[in-house]
Amino acid sequence: MKRLLLAGVAAALLFSAPAHAQQPTSLLNASYDIARELFAAVNEAFIPAYKEQTGQDVTIDQSHAGTSRQARAIVEGLEADVVTFNQVTDIDFLVQNGFVSEDWQDEFPNKSSPFYSLPSFLVREGNPKGIEDWDDLVREDVQVIFPNPKTSGNARYTYLAAYAYALEAFDGDETKAQEFVKKIFDNVPVFDTGGRAATTTFVERQIGDVLITFEAETKAIGKEFGEDQYDLVTPSVSLLAEFPVAIVDRVAERRGSGELAKAYLDFLYTEEGQRIAAEHGHRVDNETVAPEFAEGFPEVRLVTVEDVFGGWDKAQEEHFASGAILDQLYGQR
């Protein structure tokens, strides 16, 4: 027993030894829950590139969870040097708590979003219901799968994209747009709580004719569950989904890891970094890489939350706050 205790204490010391050093050679990247493979590939490429540049060996640690939870954990003391999220609002939470500087969107190109995606469609093989665009989703013979917008960030993009499409189609008539979105809601047989659960419903329980989720996800699902079983359909218009990145200044300053953190996030914008992101189903802006992958990314017109809804704060207030438009539409089901 004594020996066990000693071993335990030794292990405890080993783990709790402060990572704080003069020049930290490790970096913790707190990321969203489904980005494991993407950042595993990024890290594998970054480490030798950084060594070539600086001669320094570094390790990159990854933490993956829902980004709201990650932001909360960082505020409670999770020492992440950088965040790579899929929700701008969760970085805003870090800004409010003084962990990320207010001008974070100016620190890196494209408003600190190295790659992007959009809500897109995944249909069953051969597209038997002929689903091509948002207006097919209101047809009575179509069953639509996406998670509950009350609980899922992913579904909020879907909701806003459908709403934005309807606003354009009905010349900005809010009432008609809301009717349109409500009709889509009526076609959803089950609202799962998160994106992955919705995928399970569509893929494993074989419910629904079309799954709506990020384009990068639809590509991953095709790869994972058989590309001959599903077809990807890109709607004519969709909503830009940014994948914002930021240095967590408060942690980086404390650990002295600012330079490494910047180098890491800069790497996402290099040709190599962009290629990895594209290989994992994300759209990128890099002039060399984007054309290489053009075939896999059909033309789509993207609108932004800023342009259509006046920013996330306003969208939150008008659509997602309790009693707001989403609640009214969802409640009428």
């Binding site: 292990a11 405890a12 709790s16 704080h20 993956h64 505020v75 003391g77 020492e79 992955r196």
Partner: protein, 293 residues
């Protein structure tokens, strides 16, 4: 017929009821307990032994197993000592607040582990009571091993004590008093008199405590920070593999935990044969209780 002899019929004596009851329990047991376990085993090997081996050999999985074992190696001995001390204090001494202490020991049983995790956030988190102090002292509690151990310990604190308290209560203080009156020291009394009497119950508690520490998800999930290869315990790793569309990997990792459960059950059965556990307690306690006037 027993009924004819005038004895009132006992509940469950009628064959129909008996059979129905047994059938219901068997079917439910098979359906809710056995079937999922079989699924785990089948799924874990559905892509072949090679894939199973590869999942287990992956550095992240290996680290998760190591971390879970390390957590148990720290948490279980501490909780064992705590359990013995608590049971001793509650059963061998009379003091004000004794009942209150029993209630406190049992609290973790009735609280959802997630609540425990969140409570630790409020105590050790940067926004919490000691967080800023700990950070300036460079001590990491949350999102590191100490936090995981603390959360696991909270959840499993009652296991050993709860096994010991009823037994030690039934045994009373007579033997210890006799030993003391014959001149034995406190330690001697404990090791020569008390410990032999409680050893099987103690081991039983330790086994249960260990199983629970290794399987704990809720509380650990809140304080872990989910850093792969650093703070991901086996249960967390299973969830993570599952969410990565790696269902087979998740089942492979789950089978390790399930294996632990089987070992626990075997240990439990063996210990019960030795007289530990609730089943045999009245028999053990009986002579001592009856010896009292």
């Amino acid at each position: 017929m027993r009924h004819a002899k005038g004895k009132p019929p006992r509940v469950g004596d009628r064959p129909a009821i008996r059979r129905t009851l047994i059938a219901v329990v068997l079917v439910t047991g098979a359906f809710f307990v056995l079937a999922p376990l079989v699924v785990i085993a089948v799924q874990a090997f559905s892509l072949g032994v090679g894939y199973f081996g590869a999942t287990i050999a992956h550095p992240d999985t290996r680290h998760a197993i190591f971390l879970t074992a390390a957590t148990a190696l720290i948490a279980v001995p501490i909780n064992t000592i705590f359990g013995i001390a608590a049971a001793w204090a509650v059963t061998k001494y009379e003091f004000w607040g004794r009942r209150f202490l029993i209630v406190i020991i049992e609290i973790p049983f009735s609280i959802s582990p997630v609540v425990a995790g969140v409570a630790y956030l409020f105590v050790y988190g940067l926004q919490g009571l000691f967080g800023p102090m700990l950070q300036s002292a460079e001590v990491r509690v949350l999102f590191a091993l100490p936090g995981i151990v603390l959360a696991s310990m909270f959840v499993t604190a009652p296991f050993v004590a709860r096994e010991l308290i009823p037994l030690m209560q039934a045994q009373g203080r007579d033997l210890e008093e006799a030993a003391t009156s014959l001149g034995a020291s406190g330690w001697r009394t404990f090791f020569s008199v008390t410990l032999p009497n409680i050893k099987w119950a103690l081991l039983y508690g330790v086994v249960l405590c260990n199983a629970r520490v290794m399987g704990e998800f809720g509380a650990v999930s809140v304080v872990s920070g989910n850093i792969r290869g650093q703070t991901n315990t086996l249960p967390l790793h299973i969830e993570l593999l599952y969410h990565d569309y790696n269902a087979v990997g998740a089942f492979a990792a789950a089978s390790i935990l399930a294996l632990l459960a089987v070992v626990t059950i075997v240990a439990k059965v063996l210990l019960e044969r030795q007289g530990a556990g609730r089943r045999s307690r009245p028999a053990l306690a009986a002579p001592i209780v009856e010896a009292k006037p």
